[in-house]
Subunit: 467 residues, 2 copies
């Protein structure tokens, strides 16, 4: 019996804007320092005995981050790319289909990539119970023991005992208001964690019975999938799958739902209020991550990005700074960051989705200064990567290497540019930057010209299929 982890990695984490954005979502951001939630999820799974290679389901914008971060963590994954996010039913169906290929008895162990679970041993024990409960063909959900009357989660009412600690699910309860939440906690209901385990065949049978369109669409998408730079890229049929959650479409409808009660520390890190709850705080209830100077500040979360944040006389406030956007929110309104993002998009603000530091498959860049006819970028290329062979019609570029050694192709020349050396790339020249060394190449690029946007680029050759 093989247990196959299915890591859902396609979320966009918009409620942690401006740190988390569509193009660089929270599961890839070291929210608490060190490794990212995605990397910690992979490590947590590695502590559970007997699991197979994790299937990671990522979106288009997160695929290179997922691959790079798994590689950095030294954990081998099977990466699958959703052409478009369709909520959790299609993703879970996909995970079950791919798990079923590993063997007729395979159990899919489905979990999000962005949860905070500090106690790996307790997690491993609960995972073992869930897998045991799933072996008989039931669909198992982890039910977390509530630590308070939270209104941000659905609740599960456990019913008759099933095998071991598992209980039949009597009822799923939608996110409640505060009064109802307190009642549910008193009645012994559990938080719906969004983590599931089931025999792949059993899960697919229920999906096929309850939402046959979903199974059909995802099956077609898998059948027409192609291998793309080491990942499996699903066919376009995926986008025809119904956009619905696995909870609503399957767990709430099936007669085979059981819940395994779990009692480890857990958070879905759903908004800044939650981050504040988890963070270490001073005697005034203030959590600071960064450089802050405070005068009479209480019950607040302050997160910087290098700049000094000074605050006077505020309470119950969230202040989050990033290189291109600052959020100031009342602590009890942090769920509304989602509405703010909608408003930003409606106003055409690119800050809604794209961070200042833009990750590309070859590394990253960040605009550090912008003037009337110039733009200054900091660029980093990890060892072994190279940008596309490219040219620009409207801009010239000066590259000054400040770390590592770059190999620069300029028309017919190939030039080695070392730390503290520079090279000039006139408009129209065909050029490429490659890092053949053992440490990252970091450089400052000064662009000059009348038009300095990203779309002035002609790619002649590319490692990442963009030419």
């Amino acid at each position: 019996m093989q247990v196959v982890p299915v890591v859902l990695c396609g979320g966009t984490g918009t409620r942690l804007w401006p740190v988390s954005r569509r193009d660089h979502a929270k599961q890839h951001i070291p929210l608490f320092g060190g490794e990212s939630p995605f990397q910690r999820t992979l490590r947590r799974l590695a502590e559970v005995p007997g699991l197979g290679k994790p299937i990671v389901i990522a979106g288009q914008s997160g695929r290179f981050l997922a691959a790079d971060q798994a590689q950095q963590a030294g954990i081998d994954i099977e990466l699958v790319i959703e052409p478009v996010g369709r909520d959790t039913l299609p993703a879970v169906t996909l995970g079950a289909l791919l798990a079923a290929r590993r063997g007729p008895d395979a159990i899919a162990f489905v979990l999000p990539s962005d949860h905070y679970v500090p106690d790996e041993a307790a997690f491993a024990a609960a995972a073992g119970q869930a897998v045991a409960a799933a072996a008989g063909g039931d669909l198992v959900v982890f039910g977390l023991k509530p630590t308070g009357p939270a209104t941000g989660f659905g609740y599960i009412r456990p019913g008759a005992p099933s095998s071991g600690p598992a209980r039949r699910v009597e009822d799923f309860v939608e996110k409640p208001d505060a009064a109802r939440a307190a009642e549910l906690v008193a009645e012994g209901c559990l938080w719906n964690s969004g983590m599931f385990a089931f025999r792949a065949e059993a899960g697919l049978a229920e999906i096929g019975r309850l939402v046959p369109d979903a199974l059909a669409a995802v099956t077609r998408a898998v059948d027409s999938a192609s291998v793309d730079l080491g990942a499996l890229r699903l066919g376009d049929d995926f986008s025809t799958a119904p956009k619905v959650s696995f909870d609503v479409a399957i767990m709430e409808k099936t007669g085979r739902a059981v819940v395994v009660p779990a009692d480890f520390a857990w958070s879905d890190v759903g908004d800044w209020h939650e981050i504040w709850s988890l963070a270490p705080k001073d005697a005034n209830g203030v959590a600071v991550d960064g450089v802050a100077e405070l005068l009479d500040v209480r019950n607040s979360y302050i997160r910087g990005a290098g700049r000094l944040i000074a605050a006077i006389g505020v309470e119950d406030l969230v202040v989050v700074d990033t290189p291109d956007a600052i959020l100031v929110s009342r602590m009890d309104r942090t769920q509304d960051v989602k509405l703010l993002i909608d408003q930003l998009r409606a106003h055409g603000r690119t800050e809604a989705d794209t961070p200042a530091r833009v990750h590309r498959p070859w590394g990253w860049y960040q605009t550090v200064d912008l003037g009337e006819r110039f733009r200054v970028k900091r660029i980093q290329v990890p060892p072994g990567k190279q940008l596309s062979l490219q040219k620009h019609h409207h801009r010239a570029e000066h590259w000054i290497v400040v770390r590592g050694t770059a190999e620069v192709t300029r028309d017919s020349e190939v030039i080695t540019v070392r730390e503290n050396e520079s090279i000039y790339l006139p408009a129209g020249c065909v050029h490429r930057l490659a890092n053949r060394g053992r440490i990252p190449v970091e450089l400052i690029e000064v662009q000059t010209g009348g038009y300095l946007e990203e779309d002035d680029i002609i790619r002649i050759e590319d490692d990442f299929g963009r030419a």
Copy 2:
């Protein structure tokens, strides 16, 4: 009878931090767009008929800003540099001494450089009344008609009629609490504006009688003054003058105080609450200067510096962003920015006093990126200016000109570097940047090396006496 404006320009405007800082104070910052308060003060004076050339009293850190901004405004000034700020009594004494040199009947018309007075005609009319009242030898203060029970100003109780609209001062009242302020307004008291007019001889006589040490110290400082790059630099004796305000030391003690009631719009722009009061606001009472995205925000002031500021559910809040520091303050605590600055200084934070854009006599620079062994600066040099001839032990510099044409001296060479050209300055080379052209030179400097602080500089020659 000559009227000599004395413009007090030595203030540091700390309560408007982080926009205003010791090294670039609010009188030199275009707080409401367009010209700076100092420039508007000079223009306002230019509208008053019959005034002589203004005497501008600046501090060491503001002297080049004052000179440059007066020149930009096309107004000729007599610039005097206080070696150290000693509150207003020494500055007013200095103004009176210099005014007295213009003629035996000279009238000193003393005013701060950072006040907001939109109606120049009303100001000119009141100035005429004050000068007329001063002609007989009285010491005249402008008393502004209160627009509300402000607690941030001293009050003046007018007494018996003097000449014209002037009244003898019956009493000066210290900054009151809110209840007392309401009583004072009801009793017909006026705001003490900090603007004065008096015959220079009469003022000096009162100063000599009431605070002889001040008159003696300032007289010695003037006698030992030297001419320094077109300004008068006072001798060190200035620092021995008592540090006290002209109001407290003279106006509250003299028997010759009269008040000229004035009724024009006026503000001392003393804190962010005041800026918010003066700024245009939307229906929710929110004033925005910059790029903001707001959700349920009320009665707040949002000031950006390029970055997006997003706010949710806050009210009575001030958010002010600058390239290196952000302030978030309750609206009714903006006076406490002063305490915050003390705290910043105690913690050794340079943001307390020095802005990201550092003004030098030759132009300005701003660090736009900083890494482990590199620093990137944007540098601007106006036409006709040049930096010192200098060298650095520990850093090399790459200069990329992005606007204008630079003349670069590098050891024995003199090289013209045009827009979109670059030059390399190895560590240890003797170099200089000069702008001989008609438009500003703007360049990106990339420094590399193990030590990248400002004090790695040896000046061999300098236009500004720093070699």
